[in-house]
Symmetry: C2
Subunit: 363 residues, 2 copies
Amino acid sequence: MSHAKTIVLPYASDFHTHLRQGDMMRAVTPLVKAGGVGTALVMPNLTPPIVTGEQAMEYKARLEELAPGVQFIMTLYMNPKLTPEEIHKSAKLGVTGVKVYPSGVTTNSDWGILEFEAYYPVFTAMQEENMVLCLHGECPSDATKNICIMNAEEKFLATLRKLHNDFPKLRIVLEHATTKAAVECVKELGDTVGCTITAHHLSIIVDDWAGQPHNFCKPVAKYPDDREALRQVIKEGHPRFFLGSDSAPHYRSAKQGEKPAAGVFTAPILIPLLATLFEKIGCLDYLENFISNNGRKFYQLPIYNDLSKLDDSQKITLVKCNDNEEFVIPQVYSVESDSVDVSDGGRQIVPFMAGQKLSWKLQ
Amino acid sequence: MSHAKTIVLPYASDFHTHLRQGDMMRAVTPLVKAGGVGTALVMPNLTPPIVTGEQAMEYKARLEELAPGVQFIMTLYMNPKLTPEEIHKSAKLGVTGVKVYPSGVTTNSDWGILEFEAYYPVFTAMQEENMVLCLHGECPSDATKNICIMNAEEKFLATLRKLHNDFPKLRIVLEHATTKAAVECVKELGDTVGCTITAHHLSIIVDDWAGQPHNFCKPVAKYPDDREALRQVIKEGHPRFFLGSDSAPHYRSAKQGEKPAAGVFTAPILIPLLATLFEKIGCLDYLENFISNNGRKFYQLPIYNDLSKLDDSQKITLVKCNDNEEFVIPQVYSVESDSVDVSDGGRQIVPFMAGQKLSWKLQ
């Protein structure tokens, strides 16, 4: 398959994406499918965050209107007011997961939690409902403990181990792993612990976001050896590691100011980007498992293991680029708005690797 | 002294500063003295770089015109064309040091070197002339060796050890140390090895430049434990560690674009900033040694160990701020230019800690 000029795959499943609200939502949601994704787990960190099953279903309906044919998987934002009753109610409404942000570590995470024990009744309800705990696995920075953004993930792993130990049947996803330590930890843990990996963390290291705000995200990309560990666990074909793009659009004006926002926007180029990376790393044969089967198994969704049974609307075709077939990533994606002056270009979104060529494109 | 409302000190000596050229030079050079500095070692990374003694002396004359009363200490930019003959000539003209940038690690370092052995004849001439080797101590990033901006300094220390071993009488300054490893290495080496520390590296860690381009510089600020090691070696009163601010102005437009330039601008607030930091760290008594005596001893300049022998033009007075005496760091410093449209604010320089209060000000 790795030498073919085209590759046919099922529409990908992206188990971590940010689709925002308002103008931004209207601009980026249709781009999910354009990037080759047919199933998208949506993060709940809106303003205000999604905290009830009803809010999640309302949000889902808005997204479905914007992107017909895409299956949206909904999550709640863990917070002190979330009750076991709301978990049971949300599960019945169709909510799949709950996202936990340790306090203060990423965009809109002011509502995050510090003391996980206080949430054990909620975790118990989630385990009963077979819901998934989506963990932003970073400790808040604390100079007195030598915790900073470079080791915040590694320092969090003890908490992951404890949660898994205390809730062995609760499915937990360590989101957007960035370190060798995280990869090794997840591999050691049981089958109820999965791990998402982003396209950009397979691509960049700390050098690439230092002085390049459009590559800056949380968790930050780390050392070359960490990136290599992410690549190796994919090359091993480990079944509990799968795609969660953490595609996170921000306006150009928010990325190029005095305090650039954290987030890398990959949604509209996601599967061509991954195909390009996997080919470079030498594991194009594992692309289908990574972008579809592994995650769908973990999330207990139907597996597309027989492509001949899918109709064309369920499949994507990647085409190898050549001199006649180029795919240059757009410099910007525009956000339309009636209410805001867009003359300064502030309401544009700069994608990851803007202006660069990819080796694969979608037909 | 630490409880006094005022502190009288000699004008400080800053053994690492960037004064640029053209409009930028005209704007920032007068601010050296405003920041409390009377002796400034000037970096040679202009465009094109300063590579001969004559160029250094011409540059010095321009700086002296802009900042009467400041003593400028001049350096050359190490490059493949620099000869032992030029070293001898430059020494006679009054050049004090040669700056070495390993290739590709910082602003305007394309002319830097990789193979230090090729420069041993130059180092030999420098040792004969009692000149100082100013080392930007970082290895170029190399993913295959797991070298990136976070460990580039630590990985460089073997080269520092080798240079010191091969040229034990050559005075070498490891510039702008940022790591515990560098501090420990310099302490272990002989009396001919000194080390500069910046004000900003005493203040910030990696979290502070991630998503804050005005705090972004090379070498990047690192872990909390690294910052603590820099603070501790000052609290120990170690005589071979001294001030080199690495104040490095860039236009706001160059700091807030798609690829923010590396450099933090501290010159106009330098000594009040250091007094504020030293008080916070609890070592205000060591301020005089750090900003004057230690570095001047290493550079074999006259020591101001009897303040009563200095006239007022040689001294500065720090005043403790209170409710009536505030020092708020300006939001910007403007660069005047006849030739460029300044309407977009691009030709402003944003200082370190813009808009924040300091606990000490200069009288």
